[in-house]
Structure formats: C-alpha cells, structure tokens
Amino acid sequence: MDLSAFISERVVSGQKLLAPYLCAGFPNPEATLAILEALADAGADLIELGVPFSDPLADGPVLQAASIRALRAGMNLETTLEIAGQFQERRPTVPLVLMGYVNPILAMGRERFASKASAAGIAGLLIPDLPPECEGLLQAPGLPPLIPFAAPNTPIPRLEALGERGAPFLYAVSVLGVTGTRDALSKNVPVFLARAKQHSGLPVLAGFGVSRPEQVPELASVCDGVILGSALAKALEAADPAKLPGAAEAFLRPFRKALDAMGAPCC
C-alpha cells in the first residue's frame, strides 16, 4: 500500500488518524493476530506493529516489559513479519507500520528483510535508533519507506530538512523522554506539534505519553492524529487473557469516538 497517498487522503478530508502500537507477541504470540484485527475493527486507521528487542532504549518500563515478555515467548522479527502478512490478507485496508530497533533487522540481513517486509505488505518503517542519515545501511530493493521522528528539541532547520526528504508522515515524540503514559502533557506539546507540522510540511502523528481519550482533542487539533502505545499495553496486561481482542477493542473505541467528535475542520 502507498502509505503517503493513504495518509494524505485522510489529512485532506480532515479525518484524524488513530494509530495504536502493539508489540508483536505481547501479551502472547497466539493472540497477536486477533488483537490486530480487533484494533482494525475498533477504528484504527493504521497500526504500528512492534518488533521486540532485548535493549529497547527509547522505551519506558511498560513497553520494555512487553518486549521482554514477547521475547521470552519466542517472538522474533521473522514471526512478526509472518503475522503481518496474515493480517494484511485479512484487513487489506488497514496499513501496518513496522516499529523496531535496527539490530534485529541487520541480523536478518538487509536484502532478506526488505523482500520479506514488502512481501508482508509492510507500509512503512519506524526505527528509533536509525537516524535518516544512516538509512543507507538498510537500503535494498523493496524496502518500505522510513518514517522520521521529531522531538520537542528538534531545531527548525532539521524539521525542514526532514520534510524535504519526503515521508508518509512525521512521528512527533511529544515529550523529552521515553515511551510511557503521562498523566498530564505539558502545555508546550501543542506548540511543538504545530511547529513540527508547519516546518516539515509532513502529516504529523503525535506519540509518547498519550493515555486518555480526553487528551486527544487538544493534540489532534494541531496535528493529524495520535499514536497510542503504553496505554494499550497496560490495558492488555490488565485484561482477562481469554478476552484480549475484546479488551483491545474496548480500549480503542473511546479514542476513535473522541477523534471523530472533532469533526472535519471547516473549509
């Protein structure tokens, strides 16, 4: 799927994007496909599928624990891509973005990874420890587009440069810090999101720290959608292991509602 076209279509029509993050294999590998489907059915526009890693240094305690648990259960990049392929067959209209650290990808080999990822229908890649300058390390035929990150301390010329390279969207790391839910987001977040959008010229999705549907309107009003990671993992952790898809759906629906209630901006 052409992720750029998919996203810009929604951005143009004023529809805000909802992008949950799920670590493959968490809480258990058997449930991953069903949880992905439940997220799609609950209104996810796109889903970030996480590849577990032993040393996730951009993640807070919740997603670290999810990663370790998935690894203990035997999850790896190979199986994650298999699940991605199965999901794409079942829900071809919901793109998957693969999110993971660079070392497991390097271990698979860049040619093999690029061809497997494109065969699985992966629409984009989010790799927190691979700056755009180092993209060459992964270049191979079929490699899905890499999605850049920006943080509150990213200078304006850098935002402009990221925009000029072109990408389906910009992942805005809303806070200085690692992933994890935060009770209150700083007042500076909307200012940063607006700056990121203005200077990159890219669609902007806001991640890191979003945990409650009430936080959504303030953020989404100045960007193009939100990413939910740790909050979903917490909900799955607390859920009855026999009812994980239901729990995922129940978690996501209020966010969808909050986004839809914002309506299309007036033209």
Partner: protein, 407 residues
C-alpha cells in the same frame, strides 16, 4: 594502509564502525557536545586545566615499572604502566576528569554515568565532587549487591546511585537506563560515558582523554629501555584503557598490539565476554561495532569474573583495528585471570584489578616463548575492589548462584 590514527571521519566512523545511532531527541545534545569538545580542544586553557587535574588530582605521570621478578618468569623484560596508582584506583579517572571539565565548561549542572563494578562511578563521583557538579550514577541492581563498597564510596562523595532494574540488572542495563535518563533530561544533563563506546563523539573523546597512557608509556619506554616495546598489551572491556595505551603506538608498526578480552568460563561455554573474538557486527548503545548477539540480533548476556569486562559490546575503534589487523585480540578465562591475580601479588607485591589480570594472564601464557625484547603491559587498576570476589571464588564453591539468566 589508511592513516589509522587520523580517524574517525567527520561523521564519527572508523571504517564501517561507529556512527551515531540514537533517537532524534539526543541529536541536538550530541551536536552540542561535538561542538563544545572541538572548541575545548583548541583552547589552551582547557588543556591547562586538564593537565593540572591529571597532575594534582590524580598522580600523572604514572610510573613505568620494570617488573623484574615477573620478567624472569616470562623470559622477557616486562614494563608495567602503573594506572593502578591513579587516584580512585584505575585509569577511569583520566577520562572522567576530562569530561567533567567539559561538562562544567558547557554549563551543565547535572552529570550522569553508568557503572558496572563501580570503578567508573567512583571516578565520576570524585571528579564531580571536585568540580561541584551534581552526580547521579546508574548501576545494575545485581552489581549494587555485588559491589557495596563502591556504592558507599560514591555516596560518600555526594553522588546518588540509581538502581537499574531492567533486563539483566548489570552494566548493559545501567547503560540503557543512563541513555533513557539522558533523553528525558537532555537540557541540563551531561552523560559522562566510561569507555570508548556510545555514539560519536564519545569513542573519540574518551580515547583522546585516555591517550595520555600511551603517550607517557612511549616516552618512558624510550627513557627506561632505550627503545620501544615489541609488544603492548591491555585488557579490553569497552576498550578505554586499551585505546588509551594503543593510540600513541599505532604508527609504530614494529610494536605489536594485543587486546585481551574476557573468556569467562571458556570460549566454548557460551559464558564469556569475548565480543571481538566471537561476536558479530551490529548496533547497540548508539554505535555500530562488534556485539554478542543471537541469530535474531538480540543482545546476549556477557559473563566474566571481572565486572569491568562484563559487557556484550566493545568500542567501534577496536572493531576497526581488528578488521585492519593492526591489533590482535586474544582472550583469557576467569581461572587464568585468578592465577595471574595471585601471581602478580606474590611476585611483585602488586594486587592487580581482575580486569588487568586478564592482560597479565595472556602474557603469562607466552612465558618462555618471547624474544628477549621489552614488553609493555597496561596495569589498568588495582585489585583491592576484587578481594571479596577472590575469596569467594577460591573457596571450594562460590556461595553466589549464577548471575541471573538473561530473559
């Protein structure tokens, strides 16, 4: 052969190794650090401050000691570079003084560090106290338990020790936690890395601050022995004492350079820290280098009797020097290091750090096989810190179980 000691390139690469693989949040901080370091290097006042700290706070130049009884055992004159005589007991202080002066110059108010055995933590706490900066040290919960004395030393010097509770709760995880801390507090915090690892410019900067070891040793060798050594040997954890020793000798092609890694219980047991010997290239903690990793690219737990060598990565410049063949990387087991620890104590009245004992152990293996030419060995630290562990290990059964399995 390229001019090996002119590296890294502008982007921080030593050949294919190094670079800056960090989350976007750290980019501005690394750019700021790189600029500040480049500026400080040009400034004679910084040079003066650093030199003054090296002479008055730690005791540089450290002596080059002709170890006569050890020489008789080896069959070649052995010159020990006495980094164990540094204040706080190891070479680590050379680097912490340099970085701490830089942190102060940059106007940072808080300094964080990672530590394994606590040697780098203690050196950082001491340098922070001297310059009046707030200091917090990330240390694995498992290491805190094993190294109580160093925890108390750090606290006495005003540092706060933060337990790292993730993963294996050892050095690798303390490093992860330090990076996470830095990401969250990047505006006022300076991350003081303890070895030639991490993203650019750390491997270069730490090497530069440690290169005083090799510069002194080279001059002293010319003065004492009238010539350069035929061999220069150092242990390799992250690789800072080894890079510090090797750097000055890299253009001297006749000086053979040997880095000694920890072979733990044995290279074929899976319980070792021989990253360059048995690892594969990959990315961890901001740099491309050799790593201990499984087939899926997950980082594996290292194992060594010496906490300072117990790390599944290694500095990128060592990866490069291995590939170019300029340095040969060897290894020594826990048992060999223990024997070397005892032997140096008996023969010379010097108790070496377990880390340094690995370098000695390799040299002891060459006894009787070397030509009668001077051999230089970096005695990176003193072994007082290792006495408890030594006593534990030399009883019939260690009372401690195996270190918590990774995953």
């Amino acid at each position: 052969m390229p001019v090996l000691n002119a590296l890294p390139d502008a982007k921080g690469y030593f050949g294919a190794f190094g670079g800056s693989f960090v989350p976007e949040t750290l980019r501005p901080a690394l750019a700021e650090l790189e600029a500040a370091y480049a500026e400080a290097r040009q400034d004679p006042t910084f040079e003066t401050e650093f030199r003054e700290a090296l002479t008055t706070f730690t005791c540089r130049p450290t002596p080059l000691y002709p170890a006569l009884r050890l020489s008789a055992r080896i069959g070649a004159p052995v010159l020990l570079k006495r980094e164990d005589l540094n204040h706080t007991g190891a070479h680590k202080i050379n680097n912490t003084l340099g970085q701490m002066l830089l942190a102060k110059r940059m106007g940072k108010t808080r300094v964080i560090a990672e530590t394994g055995a606590g040697q780098h933590g203690v050196a950082t706490a001491a340098a922070a106290a001297r310059l009046g900066l707030r200091c917090e040290v990330h240390m694995g919960e498992e290491d805190i338990r094993r190294q109580q004395l160093n925890v108390r030393r750090m606290e006495l010097m005003g540092a706060r020790v933060i337990p790292a509770r993730s993963g294996t709760r050892t050095l690798k995880d303390a490093t992860n936690e330090a990076i996470r801390d830095w990401v969250a507090n990047v505006e006022d915090t300076f991350y003081l890395i303890g070895s030639v690892v991490g993203p650019h410019p750390y491997p270069t900067m730490v090497r530069d601050f440690q290169s005083v070891i090799g510069r002194e040793a080279r001059e002293q060798s010319l003065a004492v022995a009238g010539r350069l050594p035929s061999l220069a040997i150092a242990c390799v954890g992250g690789g800072s004492n080894a890079m510090g020793l090797f750097h000055a000798f890299i253009p001297d092609e006749r000086v053979q350079l040997i880095g000694v890694e920890a072979a733990g219980k044995g290279l074929d047991t899976g319980l070792h820290a021989a990253t360059l010997t048995l690892g594969r290239p990959g990315v961890l903690h901001g740099a491309m280098s050799y790593l201990l990793q499984d087939a899926d690219g997950q980082i594996q737990e290292a194992h060594s009797i010496s906490a300072g060598l117990d790390y599944p990565g290694v500095g990128p410049e060592h990866a490069f020097l291995k590939e170019t063949g300029r340095v040969r990387y060897e290894s020594a087991t826990d048992d060999e290091a223990l024997r070397a620890f005892e032997l140096l104590s008996e023969l010379e009245g010097i108790i070496p750090a377990f880390e340094s004992a690995h370098a000695l152990a390799w040299l002891l293996r060459q006894a009787g096989q070397l030509s009668n030419e001077p051999v230089l060995l970096c005695l990176s630290g003193r072994g007082d810190k290792d006495l408890d562990e030594y006593l534990l290990r030399t009883q019939k059964e260690p009372s401690r179980g195996p270190i918590g399995l990774y995953l």
